[in-house]
Structure formats: C-alpha cells, structure tokens
Amino acid sequence: MNRPDSKVVNAIHQASFIKGDALDIPTLKVLDPQGVVIEGAQMPDIDETLALKIYDTLAFIRVFDERMVASQRQGRISFYMTCKGEEAAITGSAAALSDDDMIMAQYREQAALRFRGFSTPNFMNQLFSNAKDLGKGRQMPIHYGSNELNYMTISSPLATQIPQAAGYAYGQKLQGNDALTICYFGEGAASEGDFHAGLNMAAVLRAPTIFFCRNNGYAISTGTDEQYAGDGIAPRGVGYGIETIRVDGNDLLAVLLATQTAREYALKHNKPVLIEAMSYRLGAHSTSDDPSGYRSKEEEDLWAQIDGVLRFKTWMMSQGWWDEDKDAALFDKYRAEVLSELKVSEKIGAPALDELVTDVYNDVPKHLQQQLSDLKTHIAKYPDAYPSAKGESH
C-alpha cells in the first residue's frame, strides 16, 4: 500500500472536496432517436440473422406482455409484470452473450429468456402455475427459470442475485469454460447491501461478471431522486475499480455493442464490468400497481417517443432486412400463438399434491413424509375443501 508521503501520491494543500458529480459519465449511442445510425458511430457485431432473431424476440415480448396484462385483468392469471420500454436494453444485452453464459435476472427480463429459446408454453405454464411449470407451481407468475437455458430461476428478494452472480462467475472462471455470468438488476435494487457486496467481491476476486443495471427511472413509486443523490449507478463502478459504461438503453445497437465489448473484456481479463442502461419503465410496476398516482402521462409519452423497439425496427428496415408486411405478419403470428397457447396452458391441471414436500431437501425427510401422509388422510375427510382432491387446476 502507498505510504501517504510516497512520491506517487497526488497531494493538495488546500481543503477542497472532490465533488459528488466529479465524474461526467457519457452515454454510448449508436442510433439517433429516429433509429438512424449516428455518423461515425462504432457498430456492434451484428448480421441479418442476429438482427432477425433479436426483432423476433422484441415482437414476441411486446405481444406477450400486452396479452398477459389483459389476462390478468380478466382474472385468468393472478399477477404479471411487463418489460415494456426496456425490451431493447434486455434483448440487446442478451444477444451479446453465448448460450453458455449464465443469466441471473431480477424479474423484468423475460425478453432475455425468450432470446435464449424459452417457448411460449414454457412461459404460459409458469404463469398458470400448472403441472408443466418447470418451477412446479411454487412461485408467483413471472418467476421463470430454466437450467437447460442457463437462466437462473427468479427470486423475489431484490439484489440477492448480485453477489450470487459474482460467485457463479468465479466458479465458471475456475472451471475455465470460457463463459461468464450476466446479472440484471434495477436502479432500485442497486441500493441494497447485496449490490455493494456483489460488485466489490467480483472486483477483488476477479469474477468475470457483467453487472447490467436497468435504470428505468422508478422503483415502484420511488423515482431516482429519492433513490440516489449521485449521477446514477455508473459512477459506483469506479468506486469498486470496475470498468464501467453507460449506454442509451433504448438504443439496441448501443446496448449490443456495450455488452459485446464488456463480454470480451471480462473474459479476457477475468474482471467484472458494469453497464448502466438508461431507459424507462413504460408500463406500471406490475399489475398490482397504478402509476398515475406518482407520475405524469406527459413523462410517459416523452419516453414512448424514443421507444427502443421502433428505433431498432427502423434501422432494420434501413438495412433492407425488414418491412411493414413482415412486421404485421409477425405480430399477427404471435398474437395467435399467445392466444392459443394460453388456452392450452390454463387447462393443464395443478402439480401433484406430493410436490408440496419435494425439493425442500434433496430427499424428502421423514417428518415431511409424515406431514404429507397426514395431509392426505385429512384431505380424504374433506374432499370438497381442497382443490387437489377435487382435481381442480386452480
């Protein structure tokens, strides 16, 4: 460590503060608000196939989010959260990864899971908590997860996945399998102690992790001015000695570029990178929320104008890779698919009663076997009182 009198130390002799806004962190942009590439901008690594896959994801998620909010209103599912407004940030970053990379998300990143190949029935079965839900109907809607797709099951407690991502990435590094972990979280979750723990540990222990902060302006009703006093989340990266980049989250090409660059850097140096994507939660926090109580329609409209999906579509069209007919057909296809899969999934029955006690431990211990058998005896006495005995799906 540096002795305070060592020559390399930069000394001052007047008491003056480093200001809270000392770092003027720029924002990476490739597309302008209209979806035109800014002159001289560096392009990400993207070809037509990738672009089409990205857009396919964006279209699906738009349709799916809209449809599932409607289903919630109809009482068909109990809860839902859209990623509306943030699709570009989520899909653009997911598209920069290898399939071997682990994704640890917060809850609003269904587009990343879709990009990985989660099928429409996969989504639906989770939302309906039915027997085909990979999560066995145990968590609320939107808590997806898939071992096969390297997408860690969502857990509601915020920010817990941040130090977990550092650990996961450290394990990947030791195994030498050229894969890393991306960790998504909101600017609200970044206030949790686990954020501090995760970023510092990843930096010190050199875990190849991409910390991807979705700064969407709100944590439920709490705006960023009540969440932090500094210049967002990016300057914190410098506090941990982490290479950091801020990006326009509504600019898919910029997000893709930033994440591709981050991935390369992280794997090459075995170091974490922090990306802050500036975007906006266009919808309500969840179907339980009504944002009109805490923000204005004008604000929402302002952000809708620079929507990342539209900008990316415009760019694809300018490449000659897309047109309005294809667009209409794609949206139609997904509307139909979502509707028909919904009808299938909502008819699938609930998980077996035995699943009530599995997976608490690797094997079902004696006391839980006993509790299950007592329960079955009890249910047999009151068959009408319990859905499982009545064979109800809900």
């Binding site: 609320m140 407690p157 949790e192 102690g193 009703s221 009540e226 608490v360 006391h367 499982s388």
Partner: protein, 325 residues
C-alpha cells in the same frame, strides 16, 4: 365510532401519533407520496410534510439502521418493511442492534421509541416471498417486543401502545385482513395494553390460542366444534414477546386442553415455545397432548396454498382429537 378496515385503523393510529408528537416519523419504501404499496401511510406526507413521512432508498438494512439511529437520537421512528418476507436483510440491525442497544450500553442509550411495521402472512396467493410469518425469529430474541393485531379495533389500539411504549416493537400486520376485516373503531386515539392476551370467547372443553389473521380461522373452527357440542375457549395472544403466560396457563388449567395455531411452519414456530412452557406449567392439568396446527415444514407454496395452510378443518380435527384423546 366509525367503520374502518384494518388499513384505515393503522393509518388513523399513525395520523394521531404524528399529530400528537412532532418527533414521530414514518418512512420506508414507497411510504411517502404514494402512501405505501398497501396505502397504510396514505395522506401522511401531505399532512405532515416530506421531512416526517418519506420514501427511503430500497435497502431494508439501511431503513432499520437509520431507524435505530433516529430512535437513539430521541426521535420516534416508525419504519415500514414492505413485506415481512423482506425483513431479513435488516435482521442484523434488528437482532444485534435494536434488541441489544439498551442492554449493551448499560442504559446509556436506547432505541425504545422504535416501531417496525410490516405486513405478514398468507392467503393472498403470494407464494414463497409474499406470505411468510417470521414472528418466531423475533420472539426468540430478548430485547424486542412482538405484537400482532387481529382486527381494526385491535390494530389501532395496539399500534398506538407500541408507539408510546418504551421498548422497540415489531408490529406484524395481517395483510390478508387489510381490506377484508372491517369493524367499529373509535375516531380518537386509544391504547390497548401490551403484554396481555385476550380471552376472546369463554369455553370449557379446550383452549384455542392464536394471533393475527389466524384468529378468524380459529373462530370458524370453534363454530364447527360448537355444532358438535364442544365448547372452546379462544385466546388471542396479541403480544407474542414477552407473552402472557398467566392468561394462557389459567385457561388451560381450566380446560385441560390446548391447541395452538399459526401460519408459520410448525417446526421452530412460536407454538413450540408456548407448548413447552404450558406443558411445564400445567403438567398435572393437561388431559391431552397440546396440539399445534400450523403450516407444513416447507417454504410457503403458491398453487398448493389451500392444502398447506392451517385452515379451519385442520383445527377442527385437532379439536376433536384433543377432546377424544
């Protein structure tokens, strides 16, 4: 008297407390202008200003740390944790700090003015992380009081007593009843004494003990038992720590039988402590084993909530088993 639901009753208690003492502060995630995700602090920022009712950043350990500091300073902090499931990041601040503040300092400092409010419990299709009943983690921690109300009248009176009490208190709010439970509540401020269980219904055959939202279920089971000619005495424990052993022991001495029901998993739940203590105190009076009707020893499930919970049928069966032992 006015008709209030449980949320209104809580809001009214907070409103009175802030009115009466300008050192009372309410804060937590989204509790400011939005009034909390359940709207328990609705209107308080408007009325008392942003300095006294405010949003915090999203960090439970910070909310409790900040609250401990405020309480030590002489303010009267009422900190909200949005769901009891999210109280665990603040566990160190509560268990190592709040609970030990006065003792470790030899009473040089204390955080006795602190109240922690948090919605707990199931029955709202909330699954693992919006249904937990973590009271036993705190009843096993000397230095904090734990209080759970069962209806709007109790909520207002107990919360007011918590705010005025000289010890830190965790006030668990039964969120399933927030809007579902409606009752007569005085407009003015009043207190219900902490540390006293309430005999809600007298009976002779068996004592049923619970707290919070579970009281409603217990009452339903009592009705079922009544139809079979079984007379239940019902006790609402209300203050779980320190708890009113005498009232429970007196009742069990009379009935000879006890059934405790709570939402949390059976193993390590607070029913075990009660059972152990009452078994000891009423050893010669017990005519059957003390029954515990609780959640299963698993995380709180979503789809199988109905099967999982300690419902009236399970309590009724336990009553019969106890009486027919």
């Amino acid at each position: 008297m006015a008709q209030m639901n449980l949320l209104h009753a809580i809001n009214s208690a907070l409103d009175h407390a802030m009115e009466e003492n300008e050192r009372v502060l309410c804060f937590g995630e989204d509790v400011g202008h939005f009034g909390g995700v359940f709207r328990a602090t609705s209107g308080l920022q408007e009325k008392f200003g942003k300095d006294r009712c405010f949003n915090t950043p999203l960090v439970e350990q910070g909310i409790l740390g900040f609250a401990n500091g405020l309480a030590a300073q002489g303010s009267v902090p009422i900190a909200e944790i949005q769901f009891a499931d999210y109280i665990f990041p603040a566990f160190d601040q509560i268990v190592n700090e709040t609970a030990k503040f006065r003792y470790r300092s030899g009473n040089e400092f204390n955080v006795g003015s602190l109240v922690i409010r948090t919605p707990y419990g199931g029955g709202i299709a909330g699954g693992l992380y919006h249904s937990q009943s973590p009271e036993a983690y705190f009843t096993g921690t000397p230095g904090i009081k734990v209080v759970v109300p069962r209806n709007p009248y109790q909520a207002k009176g107990l919360l007011t007593a918590c705010i005025n009490d000289k010890d830190p208190v965790i006030f668990f709010e039964p969120k399933r009843l927030y809007r579902a439970s409606i009752g007569e509540v005085p407009e003015e401020s009043y207190e219900i004494e902490l540390g006293k269980a309430e005999v809600v219904a007298e009976g002779s055959d068996v004592t049923l003990l619970g707290w919070g939202a579970q009281m409603e279920i217990i009452e339903q089971a009592c009705e079922m038992a009544k139809e079979q000619g079984i007379s239940c005495e019902i006790i609402d424990l209300r203050t779980l720590a320190p708890w009113d052993v005498d009232t429970v022991a007196k009742s069990v001495t009379k009935t000879g039988r006890l059934i405790i029901s709570h939402e949390a998993p059976i193993t390590g739940g607070f029913a075990g402590e009660i059972s152990a203590t009452i078994s000891d105190q009423c050893f010669l009076h017990l005519e059957s084993p003390i029954g515990r009707v609780c959640g299963l020893d698993t995380p709180y499930p979503l789809m199988q909530e109905k099967e999982y919970v300690a419902d009236k049928y399970k309590i009724f069966e336990a009553i019969k088993a106890s009486v027919n032992f």
